[in-house]
């Protein structure tokens, strides 16, 4: 009897799926579930089944019945919604639409693609480099020798050198994507226009605006006549494209050993609209893009003649840009894989 029930289920389901219209569906329903339908008749024979097996068979029969009913119901629904029948029947079209089950790209990815696009429009190509990096490219080539106090502002995560030929302290997790200045420039002659998106690592206590892993987009260009006004103009162009025409910026002087003059870019905090909040440390402004004219020592280390060419460099705090863009008040939201967050993007 079990086999019989399974056969009924299989043939009913396949017939329902193939049914071209509602009329036929009604017929199929009768054929199986009607008073003299196949399932009904089969069930009448349950008395022939030994008593101890009856409850098992009963369960199976119920399941078969439910499956057939469910399949019927679904098929009714699809047939009803077929556009050809929509007009004929009185369907309530104000009910919500049925959304396709597509996923969501991470907000970081979405903003990163925009960043890459904006820079492409002004001739910058994207490069990708190692996260496990040498002290040389992370510091020395950027005019930050050993014992330089600027190293304190970029607390480094050092990799365990045991069982290797590497000297302690020589290989680190990069603290900045600026490492790629040295790597790219030593391989090509100017003009160069490069951006380097990537993850950086620092020994940093985590809070709403700091993390020990964060994303940056480094950028630099070198040519025969690159000027400070070009840097200001490029920053404004890029941030207007990314944050809207009426974005508020200000530039300040700062010091990074690999640039001179050094520039820092602040964007009005989008979370508090400049009023001051915990994310912007009550200042109303958020540091977004440290930058400057590339220091002659960096150009020299790359084999460039600093009297003939000049350049600028900048680093966009991508994680911070994303949070400001979507008014997220905590950087940690970006590494939280909660679908309730991701589905908003």
């Amino acid at each position: 009897m079990e086999e019989e029930l399974m056969q009924i289920k299989n043939s009913a389901v396949s017939m329902i799926i193939d049914a071209p219209n509602q009329k036929e569906l009604e017929e199929i329903k009768l054929q199986f579930l009607g008073r003299s339908g196949k399932l009904t008749l089969t069930l009448k024979e349950i008395t022939k089944v030994p008593v101890e097996k009856r409850s098992e068979i009963g369960k199976l029969a119920n399941e078969v019945k439910r499956t057939i009913e469910k399949t019927l119901e679904e098929k009714y629904f699809t047939l009803k919604l077929k556009f050809s029948s929509l007009r004929k029947q009185n369907v309530d079209t104000t009910a919500p639409g049925i959304k396709p089950a597509i996923g969501h790209l991470h907000p970081m990815t979405q903003v990163l693609y925009e960043v890459v696009d904006v820079f492409k429009s002004i001739g910058f190509q994207a490069a990708d480099g190692p996260e496990i990096e040498t002290d040389y490219y992370n510091f020395e080539a950027l005019n930050i020798p050993k014992d330089h106090p600027a190293r304190d502002t970029q607390m480094t995560l050092y990799l365990d050198t045991r069982n290797s030929k590497v000297n302690p302290g020589e290989i680190i997790l990069r603290t900045q994507t600026s490492t790629m200045q040295g790597r790219v420039m030593e391989k090509v002659k100017p003009p160069v226009r490069v951006i380097v998106p990537g993850k950086n690592f620092r020994y940093e206590q985590v809070d709403s605006s700091h993390g020990f892993e964060f994303w940056q987009v480094e950028g630099f260009m070198v040519d025969t006549n690159v000027k400070l006004t070009d840097l200001f103009g490029t920053i404004e162009y890029v941030l207007q494209k990314l944050m809207g025409k009426d974005v508020k910026l200000k530039f300040t002087t700062t010091n990074f050993p690999f640039v001179e003059p050094g520039v820092d870019t602040y964007i009005q905090c989008s979370i508090c609209k400049g009023k001051g909040c915990s994310f912007c440390k009550q200042s109303g402004w958020s540091e977004i893009m440290p930058a400057g004219m590339i220091h002659p020592n960096v150009l020299k280390a790359a084999g460039y003649d600093s009297q003939r060419v000049s350049g600028f460099a900048f680093a966009i705090g991508l994680s911070r840009l994303v949070t400001l863009r979507y008014q997220m008040n905590d950087l940690r939201l970006l590494t939280n894989p909660d679908l309730r967050i991701l589905e908003q993007f």
Binding site: Y113, K187, P337
Partner: protein, 624 residues
């Protein structure tokens, strides 16, 4: 660095409002983080960059304000040292390679007591604790002028001998604030005949400090070597106001003025008299240096033409004594501006006082480089693959590269992973060898809120048991509980088709308790990627379609059957599995001839061949 407005006003006239001043200071490089209003004052909290040790003093900040306001600063009035009436003996043995300058003087007959109110108030505003008049004066003058000062109890110096030397390592030293340190090798110290009395540039010793019973003092204003102070301070995890200044480079020419100012205040507030000649031990003269600035170069780098008169005025306001000859300015750099070493440094000086926010903005001209750069990354590829996953219902996550030992599954041994020596916490100590760990975590985190979960991540994984073998590779992994095995396989097949990869997805898919998981070496995919597509003209003649049901052993692999069917004729355009039940499989076969209509006989022949081959190879038979 804190800077009370009332104190700044002693050295410079200020016309800007506190808010304007804060903004202007930030623009010129002294990041104003807070403006604190107290009952009787306004205090600026400034972030000083490592290149400006001079701004770790009130006079240094006043100089910056003078440049902003285009005013002159008023330096405190200093008296010359009086000739001593009596002279107390002292032998100083020092070495200029570890202590470039030792400036000092002995004062006798002082009275150590509480500081006057004005001095205590100032220190409170600077977040400093008042100790006694002598210690307070040394702190005060350091905050005022930027040169650290230490006062020794002269009578506690055994044999009246001070020797500057370097620690061998391991020596015990108790500081004035009652903490005992074990000194690292090469720390610069001062010893008398018996004991260490000073950890130079960082902290004084408890055994020679100034206390109530002190009558005679030696005031020392040194120049220390930045690197040596920095290394010792790092090794001990010990920072002081003095060490911050020395690390960044002290004003080597400021020791005499600082000593004069200190002596003036000591004599005024504690009595006593000068009891030695001035000690000023150095081998080098610390003179201001000259720097050239080409006006044309300045205008070229900045991209604007600042009138020469304006440039000179700015440099003048910074006390850089500019002299113009034929479009070249020669500036004289005071010793407190250690940060000004090259022409570009002077260009920044002009630009920042001119005001970055007063600059016009331009976009770079010049040729756009067209050759592919080294390390080039094509983000369009990432976008393509992520869009395929997105379209299939997968959502993207970003997780940390660093994981903890407790996250590791049994089959992964932490010994085999790259490790961080100084992790922020044990939870983030190892570089992940797979994306699976974080994906599974993310999956279970979502379980309470979602029934259907499909997640993916594209990110680096890190290989190698040690740094010699270290490798970082992009992986693309996903997990889903709402798709079956073949749907996931189909997604990967789609990715491979789009990327021109010929590979079998089966080995990248794993069936877990939670769902279907896949892990692809994305770096490898990018190496072999081929986005080239060639259009194939549509067939002119109709295909013949047929479904063939075959009975064969269930252990026979469908892939083998399909490839065997295909092998039988070049006229078979495609074979797919339509249905499968127990030992029966139905294949959908498309026969197609580019050049003519296929006849029934031709198809029958191929069918025969297929059935023959399948019988021979797999003992398969046509289902009746």
């Amino acid at each position: 660095m804190l800077a009370p407005l009332s104190w700044l006003k002693e050295y410079v006239d200020i016309t800007l409002t506190p808010k304007e001043l804060g903004e202007k200071l930030t623009e010129v490089g002294l990041g104003c983080e807070k403006i604190i209003k107290t009952s009787d004052d306004i205090i600026f909290e400034l972030e000083i960059t490592p290149n400006r040790p001079d701004c770790l003093s009130i006079i240094g900040i006043a100089r910056e304000i003078a440049a902003i306001e285009n005013k002159k600063i008023k330096f405190p009035e200093l008296k010359n040292f009086l000739k001593p009436i009596k002279s107390l003996p002292l032998i100083i043995k020092t070495d200029s390679s570890i202590n470039p300058r030792f400036t000092g003087i002995i004062i006798s007959g002082i009275k150590v007591k509480e500081s006057p109110k004005w001095l205590k108030d100032r220190l409170v505003k600077m977040n400093q604790r008042s100790i006694n008049n002598i210690v307070d004066i040394t702190n005060y003058v350091m905050l005022e002028l930027g040169n650290p000062i230490h006062a020794f109890d002269y009578d506690k110096i055994i044999d009246k001998t001070m020797t500057v030397s370097q620690a061998k390592g391991g020596e015990k030293f108790e500081s004035v604030d009652d903490i005992t340190y074990h000194l690292p090798k090469d720390a610069v110290i001062i010893s008398d005949k018996e004991k260490i009395i000073d950890l130079c540039g960082i902290k004084g010793g408890k055994n020679s400090g100034t206390y109530e019973e002190t009558i005679n003092i030696l005031i020392r204003v040194p120049v220390e070597i930045s690197n040596l102070v920095r290394r010792t301070s790092q090794a001990l995890g010990l920072r002081s106001d003095a060490s911050s200044i020395f690390e960044r480079g002290v004003n080597a020419n400021g020791t005499i003025d600082t000593l004069k100012r200190t002596v003036d205040l000591v004599l005024e507030l504690s009595g006593g008299e000068v009891a030695s000649d001035l000690y000023d031990i150095k081998v080098q003269d610390f003179k201001p240096w000259k720097l050239k600035l080409r006006i044309d170069r300045l205008n070229q780098i900045l991209g604007i033409t600042i009138p020469t008169g304006k440039i000179l005025k700015i440099l003048e306001s910074l006390n850089l004594s500019p002299v113009l000859t034929k479009r070249i300015i020669e500036a004289t750099i005071p010793t407190y501006r250690n940060d000004l070493k090259i022409e570009e440094d002077l260009i920044e000086e002009v630009a920042r006082i001119y005001g970055y926010n007063n600059f016009p903005k331009t976009l770079p001209n010049g040729i756009i480089p067209t050759n592919e750069i080294p390390y080039f990354k094509d983000y369009r590829a990432d976008e393509k693959v992520k869009n395929i996953l997105k379209a299939d219902g997968f959502s993207e996550i970003y997780t940390y590269s660093l994981i903890g030992e407790k996250d590791l599954p049994k089959e992964i041994n932490s010994q085999d992973l790259l490790r961080v020596d100084n992790p922020v916490s044990r939870d983030f100590e190892y570089l992940r060898p797979t994306l699976k760990i974080n994906l599974l975590k993310a999956f279970s985190q979502n379980k309470s809120n979602f029934e259907k979960i499909s997640l993916f991540e594209m990110g680096k994984i890190y290989y190698g048991k040690n740094l010699d073998e270290a490798k970082e590779i992009y992986f693309l992994s996903g997990i889903t509980n709402s798709k079956n095995y073949f749907e996931v396989k189909g997604i990967i097949e789609t990715i491979f088709e789009n990327f021109g990869i010929k590979d079998n997805p089966t080995k990248y898919i794993e069936i877990l308790d939670e769902g279907i998981f896949f892990e692809l070496n994305y770096s490898e995919i990018l190496k072999n990627v081929n986005f080239n597509k060639t259009f194939k003209p549509l067939p002119k003649y109709p295909p013949v379609l047929e479904d063939l049901s075959i009975i064969t052993g269930e252990e026979i692999k469908t892939a083998d059957l399909i490839s065997e069917i295909k092998n039988q004729s070049s006229l078979i355009a495609n074979v797919s599995l339509l249905d499968q039940f127990e030992n029966s499989r139905t294949f959908h076969i498309i026969y197609q001839d580019k050049n003519k209509n296929l006849t029934g006989e031709e198809v029958a022949k191929i069918r025969e061949k297929i059935l023959h081959k399948l019988k021979e190879k797999f003992s398969a038979a046509l289902k009746e």
